[in-house]
């Protein structure tokens, strides 16, 4: 495909062409595309999106966790990616079960994920395997509990 065609091809189509099993869900809301992928595909998919010439999603803006307690899968991880070349944003979503809140760390791919993942661990209790130093970041080091979870009271425990 030449660069003009690549620029017009939707990211989801290119992902499907690369690996048909990669996408577990696709949606669009208010002009924003969200691609749901399975937990084990996270690192390969992000790696492909980063290094593939026609995509070039080299900028990881944000990792946001949403706690859907008491629904399962409980945690939704949203990776907000930006491609400076395509001038396009996209969201990659991974869903995790409450009992198995662990996922591979993307810090080797995107060094900016270091503090985002520490924050997600600190406030939601999600373990990132392979993170260089997974420890609390905004709460005191000896804090018990994960404050931003929905079963943690807003005023905290006294």
């Amino acid at each position: 495909m030449d660069s003009q065609e690549i620029a017009k091809t939707a990211v989801a189509d290119q992902l499907k062409a690369w690996d048909s099993r990669a996408i577990a869900g696709l949606s669009e809301f208010r002009g924003e595309v969200t691609i749901v992928i399975l937990r084990d595909h996270l690192v390969p998919v992000l790696d492909y999106m980063k290094r593939e010439l026609g995509l070039g999603f080299t900028f990881l803006s944000d990792i946001t966790v949403v706690d859907r307690f008491p629904l399962e899968p409980r945690f939704e991880l949203n990776y907000a990616l930006l491609s400076l070349a395509r001038k396009e944003r996209i969201r990659i979503k991974v869903k995790l079960h409450g009992q198995e809140a662990k996922i591979a760390s993307v810090t080797p791919l995107f060094p900016t994920a270091n503090w985002h993942e520490r924050e997600s661990f600190d406030l939601f209790g999600i373990h990132f395997e392979g993170h260089p130093q997974l420890r609390r970041i905004v709460m005191p080091d000896d804090w018990q509990g994960y404050p931003l979870r929905k079963d943690y009271p807003t005023e905290g425990y006294r």
Binding site: R30, E32, T34, S61, T64, V66, K87, F110, W115, L148
Partner: protein, 392 residues
Amino acid sequence: MTGPAQPMVLNMGPQHPSTHGVLRVILELDGETVLKAESVIGYLHTGIEKSCEAKTYSQVITLTDRIDYLAPLSNNLAYCIAVEKLLNLEIPKRAQYIRVLLTELTRIASHLVWLGTHAIDMGAMSVFLYGFREREEILKVFEYVSGQRMMTSYFRIGGLALEPPPDFLDRVRRLMEILPGRIDDYEDLLTENKIWKARMIGVGHLAPADAIALGVSGPLLRASGVDYDIRKMFPYSSYDEFDFKVPVRTEGDCYARYLCRVAEIRESIKIVNQAIQKVPLEGPFRANVPGIIPPSREEMKTSIEGLIYHFKIFTEGFAPPPGEVYSCIESPRGELGVFIASDGSAKPYRVKFRTPSFVNLQSLPTLCVGRLLADVVACIGTTDIVLGEVDR
């Protein structure tokens, strides 16, 4: 005492005049050379994101002011734009232009604080007081338009909170007449100053590939050669109708960032002058969507529908459709993003503030490892962090 030489671990902060807030940096030094610089944050964490989940969408606006407390209107704008995207609202042009005008004034005020505090860290104390003299004028404008100097909460969902006073534009115009001369004065003091250049040129170098990998944004990224400004790439609030340049430099050191930010102040002055011309003197300052935007006071007092809508909006709140949005603006520090997950109720299910200072602070080791202890102060200043944003 004899024995093998060991690096010294020095604790900087959290109370320290040069850390620009409650930032703690644990430095490992070999003599005066920095071997490791690890930031410890969380001293200003107040649980803003958790509090947002307990408030209605309109009540969250007052919380947003306090995240980046040096650019409160930017935070208001970022949050309001995110909610308006969720609601698919169209904002009247008059409100959009006034939003641009006030946001650019906020950018100038924020950069003046940065310049003053950065200069005073380097020892140039006069610039601090001069910068705050200009910032005082800008705060007077904010007080004139909203009643509050800093935590204005002037932007609301759908537009502005109040009708701006009739001669508000004249006051801004008079301020914009004196400001360029004052910026020239600061440049006279600093730009060709031998001490300033010796302490800033070559210090805190950040390569463009490292900057993108670290997720750095704002002047920190643009001084390293990457032309990424959200106002140009993904224009919001009618920025595409304004004519301005985005300063980009390639040296990637503290001096380049200084030049970028001063140039940004000048570009902001241009934008404010254009906004003064463009703002229509009459017209709605807030979108008109009954059930979501509260009616005007007069309508509330004279019509029964107005009264009912007013009552319902302020007791129950309005419920946007379920869904998720991530919308960002170019704050003075970089990409300020707001992620809102709505479950269809009157309170947001999750609000996440992707704050530029939190991400930019990660670059501190890259900037100052291998350099001298005095450069650490320059590097912290050049990242232009606000601890309220870092910790939330």
